[in-house]
């Protein structure tokens, strides 16, 4: 941030509320402008103008307002929007949630500074995503195929191995056509243990040199979390559309992000929406998620995999609910499967990849992929029905056929979903699917040809 351009100074803080300070007699400031807030002690903090009303500016302070003395503190509008310096030198670096290096190395020399809010992608400029990304995970590749330029979140619960799964995907992800592949990690409100785990795993897998990490830990300022995904996505857009990389962005944990959003909303005394999250949360999340995609005439792509924790495993909670409405499908993790020792514990029935059809079939994965996937879904759904039935009528009340479906469901979970650390090719996945389907009768599945 270019702070040396300071022209104006205000010592007019009238009130402080949560992370916000209200500054009076402000002229010429603009919405979204960055400020520095200098405390009486000389400590420098970063702020952003959220609202202007007459000569009053509402400034959110990233590092919080604790210790600010309204008499002594000074506010300097910088005349700049929130921007991040970008360059290929960011590879291998670890930054905090606001883009400041925390790996002990000096700051990079950026090629250019970009507004972290970006601009909305023109729907007419978007290229239809149609490239298959092989994650090596059967439940994803076979049943809910990920496509380049897609946004596919992982809905997790507290204690479920979402981060392990995300890292496995980063390790294994392959695209049919070779290209420069980059990973950007935007971590919001993760514990220091998780932060350590991410860094260590990336290092061990040798993925670090193609990775850029922005890490905001639980103990870091909450407001910083509102910037982290925007910074991560701005760097992603730069690498994808200026430098031709295929970028996979992992944002974790969106639940922490939304909580920061709620905190700001309540400090601004806004009318709260569902579960007191702000009414504009859909729009706000959309401005993040919709930055995934491909552009006509550009080589690169931004594929987004946000991870969120469903509070109390509730998929109707506003965070997963609004996310599901914006993203192109979802991968849902299940506590029941996790307890059974199945890894990855992907609960396939509520999973979906809306772009799957675009990325599969002849020349992409394999002819007949759709049919195999549909049959697996149908048979497994029926198996689950039977499993429910067993709890009521007992195994004795089942017909032979029902029993076969029950077995199918068990086998499917154990072999197809529960693949552990194996990196499966798409062919192996589909062959396994066909193999499993043999146990359910021909003609039972209407779609079978």
């Amino acid at each position: 941030m270019a702070i040396d351009l300071i022209k104006r100074e205000y010592r007019t803080i009238s009130s402080i509320s949560g992370p916000l300070v209200f500054v009076e007699k402000v002229t010429g400031a603009s919405l979204g402008e960055m400020c520095s807030v200098v405390l009486g002690s000389g400590e420098k903090r970063t702020g952003q103008i959220l609202q202007l009303m007459g000569t009053t500016a509402i400034v959110q302070v990233l590092q919080g307002t604790s210790g600010i003395d309204p008499e002594a503190a000074r506010v300097f509008p910088t005349g700049e929007a929130a921007r991040i310096g970008v360059s290929k030198d960011l590879f291998g670096r670890v930054m905090n949630g606001f883009g400041v290096p925390i790996d002990g190395l000096p700051p990079i020399i950026p090629d250019e500074y970009l507004d972290i809010n970006g601009l909305p992608m023109n729907p007419a400029s978007r290229e239809k995503p149609d490239f298959f990304v092989q994650t090596g995970i059967s439940a994803i590749d076979g049943l809910n195929t990920l496509v380049r330029g897609q946004k596919l979140p992982i809905f997790s619960g507290a204690g479920l191995p979402a981060k392990e799964l995300a890292l496995q995907i980063v390790r294994q992800a392959k695209v049919a056509e070779t290209g420069d592949f980059a990973v950007i990690l935007g971590a919001m409100g993760i514990t220091s243990r998780e932060g350590f785990f991410f860094r260590k795993s990336l290092q061990e897998s040798g993925a670090l040199e193609r990775t850029i990490a922005f890490i905001n830990e639980v103990s870091d300022p909450t407001i910083e979390r509102l910037f982290t995904p925007r910074i991560a996505l701005t760097v992603a857009e730069y690498l994808a559309f200026e430098r031709g990389y295929h970028v996979m962005v992992i944002l974790t944990d969106m639940t922490s992000y939304c909580e920061s959003l709620r905190e700001i909303g309540s400090a601004r005394e806004e009318i709260p929406g569902r579960r007191s999250y702000p009414g504009y949360m859909y729009t706000d999340l959309a401005t993040l998620y919709e930055r995934a995609g491909r552009l006509k005439g550009k080589k690169g792509s931004v594929t987004l995999m946000p991870i969120l924790t469903m509070p109390d495993d509730d998929i109707t909670h506003p965070i997963p609910d609004l996310t599901g409405y914006i993203t192109e499908g979802q991968i849902v993790l299940s506590r029941a499967l996790h307890r059974k020792g199945i890894y990855p514990p992907i609960e396939v029935l509520p999973c979906l990849s809306r772009l799957m059809t675009l990325g599969i079939g002849k020349g992409k994965t394999r002819e007949g992929h759709r049919a195999i996937s549909d049959q697996l879904y149908s048979a497994y759904a029926r198996g689950i029905d039977v499993r429910r039935l067993v709890t009521i009528v007992g195994e004795e009340g089942l017909s032979d056929l029902d029993r076969r479906y029950l077995e199918f469901a068990d086998e499917f979970e154990r072999k197809f979903v529960g693949q552990l650390d194996e990196d499966r090719s798409i062919d192996a996945t589909l062959d396994l699917g066909l193999e499993l389907l043999k146990s359910v009768p021909e003609g039972e599945s209407v779609r079978r040809k």
């Binding site: 002229t27 010429g28 400031a29 603009s30 919405l31 979204g32 402008e33 202007l52 809010n117 970006g118 601009l119 909305p120 992608m121 023109n122 729907p123 007419a124 400029s125 978007r126 290229e127 239809k128 995503p129 897609q150 009318i271 709260p272 929406g273 569902r274 009414g279 504009y280 859909y282 729009t283 959309a286 919709e290 995934a292 995609g293 552009l295 006509k296 550009k298 109707t316 909670h317 506003p318 609910d321 609004l322 599901g324 409405y325 192109e328 499908g329 979802q330 029935l349 509520p350 809306r354 772009l355 879904y377 759904a381 429910r388 009521i392 009528v393 009340g397 017909s399 003609g443 209407v446």
Partner: protein, 584 residues
């Protein structure tokens, strides 16, 4: 045009407070600030006017100038609309792409429709003819499929003193009236005011979607309204897109309101390549797309459905049957809520403003089959099909509930069906259509006398299926009576082979009413033959193993053409196969 100026006093999200504008007029548009962003006055209070701004307000400062020309938010209507793709305030996205590349810069101004382009105008009137509003003075062949009719705008009439013929551009007049009024290829219309017509007509013809579960079980009338609520992943967008592709309407206006960009790119790349089943010409030639994806400014999202329906009404006025598809109306309601909350209005249920239902009603009531303005008594229709995205899939929320009051047809989508990959995932028992009685005459006259009877029979069968499934949950399938097992089997066949339909299969995606009727005929012929065999004393197992069921499943993949003949053969085969089954 009087120019009024004021100064920006405050900025919060998409709203801007302006001070010192003398006599601001509600719902007129302004240019805001140095960047000249487009905004609309939505509140006037003393010396202050509040604007909703159709672009991102970042970077706006207090003290910047706001200019109003006193005009309401309007769209440009004329040749060049078809195959176009516009944002919520009718900015042409394709031209923005050519001018600015991948992203939409702030404050970009490009005319909605190219006024320089020349069109071949064929006059239908001559000098000296008297004309009234809505009269067609001539035509332009806009696309090989669609003739664009140039109409006398509402409010103008007189005697023609001059009329041109041949190539004309949107900048010049094509006709002069005795009143001195000139008529061009284009007209402007304010989006928030419904376009006038002579009278509304009762909805007596079905809007043909080609989808069995809709057309047969839950029809919507031409000029009617249908709503499609469903949680995420239940296939709302696929329903909307399927209807956009295959429905038998002349014109389709597709409004992507607050939805996904990648879905729009799919439509944009697919539609020119797909041909419409009636004419064989590319679908894009009958389609206008208005798109304000979820990441585009929220106020323009609010305007998008009005922009869309105004364009739909304009084509209706030419005498076309128009499908207006809105995906999704909930995102529009959320935009309304967001703006209302910035205005610090007293919130109603779930934070939505109390006028939500009124506004929704105004929108839905712009649908309808009408006798258009003009001396030739032509009729046109706008059928509204809107997706609703209830939070958590809970239909008790305000947008679904308010929409239900105005909708003639409900297609309720069900996550359980979607999880099983049963699409369209319409819960047939939870859905309804109020048009059955109005459409009854059309069905008996155009499909078959007994169509209504077969439909009722199917309903009864499906109702019974639900009851039997509940019973099985308790006692298991083996304990059912034999006749009930048969009923369940037939119901399952109907579910799998009739209600389930693939939008991705070339043959299955669109079914004529004739095919739908004969499919039902075949399914019930199977039921009757099987029941007869059971009564005769054939084992239920023998009946269930009969391969006739799989030939019913194969009907889906048979072409519409010649289907009735094949179905009659199939029915004969089924009857004879059951007749020779051995008794116990």
């Amino acid at each position: 045009m009087t120019e009024k100026k004021g100064k920006i006093y405050g900025v919060a999200g998409p709203t801007v407070l302006v001070k010192g504008m003398s006599g601001p007029v509600m719902n007129t548009v302004c240019l805001v600030g140095r960047q000249g962003l487009l905004g609309e006055i939505i509140r006037v209070k003393g010396d202050f006017a509040t604007l909703q701004v159709y672009e991102d307000t970042s970077g706006i400062s207090v003290g910047e100038e706001v200019v109003s020309y006193g005009l309401p938010l309007s769209v440009t209507l004329g040749p060049g609309l078809l195959a176009g793709i516009f944002d919520g305030i009718q900015r042409p996205l394709e031209k923005i792409r050519l001018a600015a590349g991948g992203f939409i810069p702030r404050g970009i101004k490009i005319e909605a429709i190219d006024r320089e382009r020349l069109w071949e105008f064929a006059p239908l009137k001559k000098k000296g003819d008297p004309v009234e509003p809505g009269d067609i003075i001539g035509t332009v062949q806009e696309t090989p499929r669609i003739v664009h009719k140039i109409m006398v705008p509402p409010g103008s009439s007189g005697t023609i003193t001059e009329i041109k013929s041949g190539m004309v551009s949107g900048k010049e007049h094509v006709c002069m009236l005795s009143t001195g009024k000139s008529i061009g290829l284009f007209q402007e219309w304010p989006v928030r005011i419904p376009r006038p017509f002579k009278s509304k007509l009762p909805p007596t013809t079905p809007f043909i979607t080609g989808q069995r579960v809709f057309d047969t079980l839950l029809p919507v009338a031409e000029g009617g309204t249908a709503i499609v609520p469903g949680g995420f992943g239940t296939g709302k967008t696929v329903v909307e897109q399927t209807i956009a592709k295959f429905s038998k309407s002349d014109i389709v206006v597709y409004v992507g309101c607050g939805e996904r960009g990648n879905e729009m790119s799919e439509i944009l790349s697919d539609f020119p390549a797909l041909s419409d089943p009636a004419s064989g010409l590319p679908l894009s030639q009958r389609t206008v797309i208005v798109v304000n994806t979820s990441n585009m400014p929220v106020a323009a999202r609010e305007a998008s459905i009005f922009t869309g329906i105004t364009i739909a009404e304009y084509f209706r006025d030419m005498g076309y049957s128009v499908a207006m598809l809105a995906d999704s109306i909930s995102r529009w309601a959320e935009a309304l809520r967001e703006i209302s909350s910035r205005l610090e209005e007293m919130p109603g249920e779930e934070g939505f403003p109390p006028y939500l239902a009124t506004q929704l009603g105004i929108f839905y009531e712009r649908s309808g089959k009408v006798r258009c303005l003009g001396a030739d008594e032509r009729t046109g229709s706008v059928t509204v099909i809107s997706a609703v995205s209830p939070p958590g899939g809970d239909f008790s929320e305000p947008v679904t509930q308010a929409s239900l009051r105005f909708a003639g047809t409900l297609w309720a989508l069900d996550p359980d069906l979607a999880y099983r990959r049963h699409f369209p995932a319409v819960n047939w028992l939870a859905s309804f259509s109020l048009y059955h009685s109005e459409l009854g005459g059309w069905f008996s006259g155009n499909v078959a006398e007994d169509m209504a009877r077969l439909r009722r029979k199917l309903f009864t069968l499906l109702q019974r299926q639900t009851e039997l499934r509940d019973i099985i949950q308790i006692i298991g399938v083996e304990a059912l009576q034999e006749s009930d097992r048969l009923t369940l089997e037939v119901a399952n066949i109907a579910t799998e082979s009739f209600l389930k339909q693939s939008a991705f299969s070339e043959v299955d995606a669109f079914n004529t009413y004739e095919k739908q009727y004969w499919m039902l005929k075949a399914i019930f012929a199977y039921m009757e033959s099987a029941e007869a065999a059971l009564r005769r004393g054939v084992y239920i197992e023998t009946i269930l193993e009969n391969p006739a069921a799989s030939s019913l499943a194969a009907m889906k993949e048979m072409a519409n053409e010649g289907f009735s003949k094949k179905a009659s053969e199939l029915i004969r085969d089924i009857e004879s196969e059951f007749a020779i089954l051995d008794e116990k």
